[in-house]
């Protein structure tokens, strides 16, 4: 395999590529947002197990989402999207929730009848994607970020020197620096629990199996079946996000079934690992350095005053 092939494109054994001769199968999350009920048990379980500091107690006005985004101390984030399902002309939407006597259709659709018309209520529990080609890991200058034997991406807090390079490198905006601490933190996919053969805290806490943990190859099959089932039932908006091993990050270790465009949930529609262009970047830096050197030579090649 060529050196550049590891930086982008399909990579079936990412763990082996990282240097593990023998290793357990790659694991990950399949988050099926069609059955998410927005209970935030995943957020709480994650905070408790990983002993993460609070995010403050602000009300954001973003529906029921007061968590706002993934960050250094927020490794699961439940997004709440409210939007009209039909063009109502003058939008006038009442408080969300199913009308009296009406039950939510089981998983197939999160639309809810409201006083003013129909709104579509989407909930999704976001998490670090544990990319096949992880930009955070590529750009980390200290080796604090590493690929585990499970194919996940983890920060070693005792090595991280808080350079912050991983923060703008992540195409999903997942990892961040803890201001009072200085170091970068993100989801470890419960590395400590995995080593004991346990399920990550968020997946274990999820009451609807919206968050499914398991071997990535099996999760992908499960997701394909679920998608076919939803399409058969007429839920054409359902789509998988991060499932494709040929996408810009070589597929995500944590992928999703969404009911709208990714950007509606705050996810990038076509993320690409920045290091895919690394060869071009170094070539241009080399050419520019040569230009500067040539400029220096030229500056002295004139007559001496």
């Amino acid at each position: 395999m060529s050196w550049t092939a590891r930086l982008s494109g399909r990579l079936d054994d990412v763990t082996g590529d990282a240097g593990y001769d023998e290793h357990p199968p790659r694991v990950g999350f399949f988050t099926d947002t069609s059955v998410c009920i927005g209970c935030k048990a995943c957020e709480v379980a994650c905070k408790e197990w990983n002993e993460l500091p609070d995010d403050g107690y602000l009300l954001t006005g973003m529906s029921y989402d007061n968590t706002e985004a993934l960050g250094a101390s927020t490794w699961r984030h439940v997004a709440f999207v409210e939007r009209p399902t039909v063009d109502l002309g003058m939008p006038s939407v009442g408080p969300p929730g199913p009308a009296p006597g009406e039950t939510m259709p089981h998983g197939e659709d999160q639309a809810a009848q409201t006083a003013g018309g129909e709104i579509r209520w989407l909930m999704s529990s976001d998490v670090c994607k544990h990319c096949t080609h992880a930009a955070c890991l590529d750009v980390c200058p200290t080796g604090a970020l590493f690929r585990t034997e499970f194919g996940t991406v983890v920060v070693q807090p005792d090595v991280c020197n808080g350079c912050g390079y991983c923060v703008p490198a992540c195409p999903y905006g997942v990892i961040d620096q803890r201001k009072d601490d200085g170091r970068a933190f993100k989801c470890t996919l419960c590395y400590d629990r995995l080593k004991d053969g346990q399920t990550p805290a968020c997946a274990q806490a999820c009451p609807t199996e919206s968050i499914q943990f398991g071997e990535l190859s099996e999760l992908r099959q499960r997701a394909d079946l679920r998608l076919a089932e939803l399409h058969e039932k007429g839920v054409d908006v359902a789509r998988l996000y991060g499932r494709d091993p040929d996408d810009g990050v070589g597929g995500d270790g944590a992928f999703f079934l969404l009911l709208d465009e990714p950007e509606v949930y705050g996810l990038p529609p076509d993320p690409v690992v920045t290091t895919r262009d690394l060869g071009s970047m170094w070539r241009h830096v080399g050419a520019a350095a040569a230009t500067l050197a040539g400029l220096g030579v030229a500056a002295f090649s004139g007559r001496k005053a």
Partner: protein
């Protein structure tokens, strides 16, 4: 905000989650990091100037450029270490070498450059170990151009739209900006009869910087907006005007008048600094608006889907 208020928000041309940014804002501090970009460029190009001066027998120019290279590298290192969340762990930068991390590569350029340029300047100023000093100066001159330009890859190798998309032109902007800074410092402190190469480096650097920045703006399309608008836009515009004016003044009167030389030199140094702050802040602005993440990616998807449909129809 109630759902009613939410629904009243006018329909934008792209979707987002409550208008929130997707990629994270870089945590790199101002002025630490833009200052480091400037100092790295100044130091790297000064090392080239110093070695040229030594080879062609211009002791005054050599002394000024050696001191500029050494102090630029030293101050830049302080800025970089200060920017770390855990400054006491700065040596962790040198525990691995990773070509995929421009910060790692840069650390392995900056560390020897700092030592060599420091040794060369010390030998020059104190007049001791002249041969070792020269040898160190040659080493610094070899590492200088990479030091001045790798910082472009440092910015570009991120998901920050205005930086990443500019990865082809940014190294040339930085090379030109480094040359004008080094030439400017040399013009400030060197008698005009020895500053000829500094003037030529300044003028050529200014031309390179202006042409490369123009190419960047033209190629990037809507992602170039942050370079044109708001505070970063004003910084970049002012930098360009000052660079062009200083280069013009250098050509016209830099050889005859020490005053013109000093003024033009100061303008070049200021302009180089403004360019770095402008580029740095444009990147921050592009990260904070989801438009620059979503719209180009949507466009990319649309083109790919179009291609697939077209090839499927054949």
């Amino acid at each position: 905000m109630s759902p009613r208020e939410q629904a009243m928000v006018p329909e934008a041309e792209f979707d987002s989650y409550y208008g929130r940014q997707i990629v994270k804002t870089p945590t790199w501090k101002t002025p630490d990091v833009p200052l480091y970009l400037f100092l790295g460029g100044l130091a790297g190009a000064s090392a080239v100037l110093a070695e040229g001066a030594a080879l062609t027998g211009r002791p005054e120019l050599e002394r000024v450029a050696r001191v500029a290279a050494a102090s630029g590298a030293a101050a830049g290192t302080v800025a970089l270490v200060h920017d770390l969340g855990r400054p006491e762990r700065f040596l962790n930068m040198l525990r691995v070498f990773k070509p995929t991390s421009p910060l790692s590569v840069g650390s392995f350029i900056l560390a020897p450059f700092g030592a060599l340029s420091g040794a060369a300047a010390a030998a020059q100023v104190t007049g001791t170990f002249p041969r070792l000093g020269r040898l160190a100066g040659v080493g610094a001159a070899v590492l200088g151009p990479p030091l001045a330009t790798y910082t472009a890859a440092l910015l570009a190798n991120t998901a920050v739209p205005a930086w990443h998309e500019a990865h082809r032109e940014l190294p040339f902007v930085f090379a030109g900006s480094g040359a004008t800074a080094a030439g400017g410092v040399a013009m400030l402190f060197t008698p005009v009869d020895q500053a000829g190469p500094a003037r030529r480096m300044t003028v050529a650097g200014a031309a390179l910087e202006i042409v490369a920045a123009e190419a960047l703006l033209n190629r990037l399309g809507m992602v170039a907006e942050p370079y044109r608008e708001g505070r970063p836009g004003r910084l970049m515009g002012l930098a360009r005007t000052m660079t062009a004016a200083a280069a013009g003044a250098t050509v016209l009167g830099g050889r005859r008048s020490r005053t013109v030389s000093v003024l033009a030199g100061a303008a070049c140094v200021t302009a180089s600094l403004l360019t770095r702050f402008g580029i740095f802040e444009a990147g921050i602005a592009s990260a904070q608006d989801p438009k620059y993440t979503v719209v180009p990616q949507r466009e990319r998807l649309r083109r790919r889907t179009g291609e697939r449909t077209a090839s499927g129809a054949e």
